[in-house]
């Protein structure tokens, strides 16, 4: 897939790659119920990069866990390429926020990336190729034999991203993946996500609480309300397909979009 607007491609004629329909999640503690998500509906076409942003406590993580199949929604459904999902699907990979805890500290970087491929039943040659390619893509070719804890936080998160793309998912879910790395590393990793998206054409759902990040990364931004969560607005981001930390962030349009989403989220907080 090349650099053209991914949404213009052939995907449009088919089912959306990922569709969330009227998803509702109620936690049932004994004697007390908490409605975390009331009604969330949105969809992604193949090859889209959509950011989900919302005020803190908006049930973003709950939503992502429902999409990933880690939590069962109370009602509503999640469809992957036209098929409803029940439990984690081989078509999805997740990058968690807690990079320090999502890699197996007793395995080397290479083994961490390779492990899901073994479970998928790939041949050894193919595993080696996928591991090499994905580590290359995140710029960690030389760290193959290191242990995760020997790497910096940003590098650890790169390993988690490499593991996710080596898995060749249809949809890549990212749950506030850069919330706990420093600002410079964060900018690098944001560009890495864009680069991987352009290069591999994978469909990405990127959850964040950072409005700037959502505008910078997304082709669309889905703005969530505070809990119980609904979709407030689905904002298209018309910043073109080539983004750069310097120019994009200085673009007046960037400021407008940011202001628009900021206002929405401020409203969302007041509604509670």
């Amino acid at each position: 897939m090349t650099m053209n607007d991914p949404r213009a491609g052939e995907a449009r004629s088919r089912d959306p790659m990922l569709a969330i329909r009227q998803l509702r999640k109620v936690y049932d503690g004994s004697g007390r119920t908490v409605e975390a998500i009331r009604d969330v509906t949105f969809s992604l076409d193949e090859g889209e990069l959509v950011c989900i942003v919302g005020p803190s406590g908006a049930g973003k993580t709950t939503l992502l866990r429902c999409i990933a199949g880690l939590l069962e929604p109370t009602s509503g459904e999640v469809m992957l390429a036209g098929k409803p999902i029940a439990g984690p699907s081989p078509g999805m990979a997740v990058v968690f926020q807690e990079y320090g805890r999502s890699l197996f500290p007793w395995m080397r970087v290479r083994q961490n990336v390779e492990l899901p491929l073994k479970e998928k039943g790939k041949s050894p040659e193919e595993r080696r190729r996928l591991v090499d390619e994905s580590l290359e893509a995140v710029g960690l070719r030389d760290a193959r034999e290191a242990y995760p804890w020997q790497l910096s936080g940003g590098m650890q998160q790169r390993v988690a991203i490499a593991r996710a793309i080596a898995y060749e998912p249809k949809v890549l879910l990212m749950d506030e993946p850069f919330a706990s790395v420093d600002a410079q590393t964060r900018a690098e990793l944001e560009d890495l996500v864009r680069a991987i998206w352009v290069r591999l054409g994978v469909t990405i759902v990127f959850v964040t609480h950072d409005i700037d990040e959502s505008v910078y990364l997304g082709e669309r931004v889905v703005v969530l309300s505070a809990s119980p969560t609904t979709v407030m607005q689905d904002v298209p981001i018309d910043l073109g397909s080539v983004r750069s930390q310097l120019e994009t962030r200085a673009d007046p349009r960037f400021g407008q979009l940011r202001g628009q989403i900021y206002a929405l989220i401020k409203d969302a907080k007041h509604q509670v």
Partner: protein, 255 residues
């Protein structure tokens, strides 16, 4: 200056000085209970290295090994099962905590009554004593496997045996090893006491015989032997720990 020689110097200076001091001070000891170290060492050689005692070492260590490994196998299986189920844990943990609180040596008379003076009762005593720390630590280790790692395994659909091997056991291994270390030191105590209390062979039995017949240098040599066994086993345990937990210690130094 901080070379390997410097390190060896700091490690061995005090032990060597103490040893020489003991050797010199006790050299012409006329105290019946504290014979000269030279005599003790001679007794050590004559008894444990080329004498009748040599045959007593193997039965003791054999019983310790069987009892410890049996307890370990049980603790691992039961610990993984109980650690994975909160309900099962809730039902069983108070009973297990009570069993752990019983000073393990009082089970020696009980087992003696049930299965006599032979190997079986001693192995059972050793197992019964060292199983609790290993079991409870395994349960705790399995229970507290990191939730993000569990999610990661679920996302990549890693289930069953592979999940046990790549996630549960390695994640619980620091606690499991802690349990093993405690279990082993309890096992050594039980090995010695079960032989002192009632036995026909073994190191503990032999040492008590020396004490009763006032063979003092031989008795001291037995104490020395038990000390050496304790130190060697703890060294072996340490080596095992380093090979199993190298990632854990590395990660801990980093944080």
């Amino acid at each position: 200056m901080k070379t390997i020689w410097g390190r060896l110097w700091t490690i061995f200076l005090v032990p060597v000085v103490l040893f020489v001091l003991w050797l010199v001070v006790s050299a012409d000891s006329s105290n019946f209970f504290f014979p000269a170290l030279a005599k003790i060492l001679a007794a050590f050689r004559d008894t444990w290295l080329c004498g009748s005692g040599a045959a007593e070492i193997a039965p003791s260590l054999w019983r310790l090994a069987v009892g410890f490994l049996a307890a370990f196998a049980f603790a691992l299986v039961a610990g993984v099962i109980l650690g994975s189920s909160k309900v099962a844990r809730d039902y069983t943990e108070p009973v297990f905590e009570f069993f752990r609180a019983i000073p393990p040596t009082v089970m020696i008379p009980v087992l003696l009554v049930i299965s006599g003076i032979g190997d079986a009762s001693k192995i059972a005593v050793i197992s019964l004593g060292c199983v609790w720390p290993m079991l409870l630590n395994t349960i705790e280790g399995v229970r507290s496997v990191d939730s993000v790692l569990k999610d990661t395994c679920s996302v990549y659909r890693i289930h069953g045996l592979r999940r046990l091997l790549v996630l549960t056991l390695p994640a619980a291994s620091p606690q499991i090893v802690t349990g093993m270390r405690t279990g082993l030191s309890i096992g050594i105590i039980l090995m010695v006491i079960s032989e002192m209390f009632a036995s026909r062979n073994g190191i503990g039995f032999t040492i008590i015989q020396f004490q009763r017949t006032f063979a003092i240098p031989e008795m001291w040599s037995g104490i020395l032997l038990l000390g050496i066994i304790g130190v060697v086993l703890s060294l072996l345990m340490r080596l095992f720990e380093m090979s199993v937990l190298h990632w854990y210690e590395g990660a801990r130094e980093r944080s």
